[in-house]
Symmetry: C2
Subunit: 261 residues, 2 copies
DNA sequence: CTCCTCAACTCGTACATACATGTACTACGG
DNA sequence: CCGTAGTACATGTATGTACGAGTTGAGGAG
């Protein structure tokens, strides 16, 4: 393998040395001279090449890691981050026809794309809803909800955590309050209970992950998350479920349709 | 002002010292003992409190900055990041009734929320479309497009950059190819030209900003961006515009509606 | 041939030091 | 009264050193 060639420092530049070095490596990545998954020259080699201290090199590498361009692996080296295949979430992903085939949205989609879907860490409790959820569901502080939290994985890799809230008045004693909510998922159960779903409203935020989220989703440093809150409304305009999900942003592309009228 | 009280280090812990320190400060922020905009104790004070070297303190602060929790200001100190008021992008934001009032989507929305909208850095060129855009518009490599790029600001703060592509065949010689596209924006012009808009499809990604984006949007470190690609379709199913926009993710919440059918 | 040990190389953590550069306030001179 | 120089303090950049800890592969023992 040919050795990666990097430019020399520009001593006339005002730009800090570690930034210049970061620029060089970034350019190499963007131009493809450093391909995905490839190893960035070691700190020792970069020190030698540029004739600077190790901290300067580490600062440069830190910049790139913060930009999500590289990941460091202890004892192995620094590598150009490779991006997993993205999942495209289409706007018909909660269409009734999918539920009627007995598949929950996630399972149907993942199998359709040839992946092996699993769900773990399922936890069900009955408790008072957080304020924001209570408001969306039109509940008061004294009402309680069934809270279903779980984690979704594709081929063993965690990609999404989700927490659903359904008014306890609706879900208590039904399969919604059990770990296996049955074919078609909880939306199918809600419809069986007479809550005919009309539409969902999704609110999307993007931010850096909290520490627990980094752990639960095994996120690389420098990867933001989508934070998506979906509320399910019935044909009579009642909110019957709020689903709060956090997704690794480099595993997803979200797709929506807007009316022009 | 009462001095912020931070715990001592746990010498029995396996956790690296700088991580423990980062944890302490993060906890203080999350519990509100350090409010938004408040100053984090200086590096010198933290060194004294914990009895560690400056590099250890700086590593801790770097962790928090990477999480988007703090910002450092040269010569002033490190501050808990304050979040700007968010703009909620609703699903009717491109409704025809807005255009008919002679306002482009951005202007109408911002004024509605009491902000002072401006647009700058308008640049218009005619060129060959990028491959992804050509595909969305159903063009070949030999076709050309009118490219309108601009930046949107609210109260002087940049919040979004956008690049629109319209087939040159449609836009050449019209007001779409001029800096001021007229009342109602380019969507109003497209409809006047007989391209009746039916719906838009938006694809949403989230990622860390590129260097130019950090500059153009004056982004704080640790803030990801939304990358949104919107394609406008007419009632006859033709794609007549692709708009590629990058938004500071902490200035926006996106909202969409999904059918349940 | 297989397994294990060990050396070499990698990044991680932490120390100490020095000077540069930006900010804010004070004190002095006009 | 105003402006400016100075000073204290803040973070930014860079050097050098030391040791810890994970990974890898070569080479020797069995």
């Amino acid at each position: 393998m040919a050795e990666l060639s990097l430019p020399d420092l520009d001593p006339t530049s005002d730009r800090a040395v570690f930034r210049q070095i970061a620029d060089h490596i970034r350019d190499a990545i963007e131009q493809g001279s450093l391909a995905e998954g490839e190893k960035v020259p070691s700190e020792a080699r970069l020190m030698q090449h540029y004739g600077v201290a190790r901290m300067t090199i580490r600062n440069a590498l830190q910049v790139l890691q913060g930009e999500g361009l590289t990941v460091a692996e202890h004892g192995r080296g620094v590598f150009v981050r490779s991006h997993p295949p993205v999942r495209r979430l289409a706007l018909d992903r909660f269409a009734r026809r999918h539920r009627e085939q007995g598949k929950a949205a996630f399972i149907a989609e993942t199998e359709g794309a040839g992946g092996r879907p699993t769900v773990d860490l399922i936890k069900i409790t009955e408790e008072a809803p957080p304020a924001s959820v209570a408001e969306l569901l039109g509940l008061t502080a004294t009402d309680s909800v069934i809270r279903r939290s779980r984690r979704y994985l594709i081929n063993g890799q965690p990609v999404e955590t989700a927490v659903s809230y359904v008014p306890a008045e609706i879900a208590r004693g039904t399969r919604i309050a059990e770990p296996d909510s049955g074919p078609g998922g909880i939306y199918a159960r809600l419809e069986e209970l007479g809550h005919r779903l009309d539409h969902f409203v999704e609110e999307i935020r993007s931010r850096m992950p909290l520490r627990e989220e980094t752990r639960a989703l095994k996120l690389a440093p420098g990867v933001p998350v989508f934070h998506l809150v979906r509320t399910a409304y019935t044909t009579v305009g009642r909110a019957v479920e709020v689903c709060d999900t956090v997704m690794s942003s480099d595993a997803y592309v979200l797709s929506y349709e807007l009316p022009a009228r």
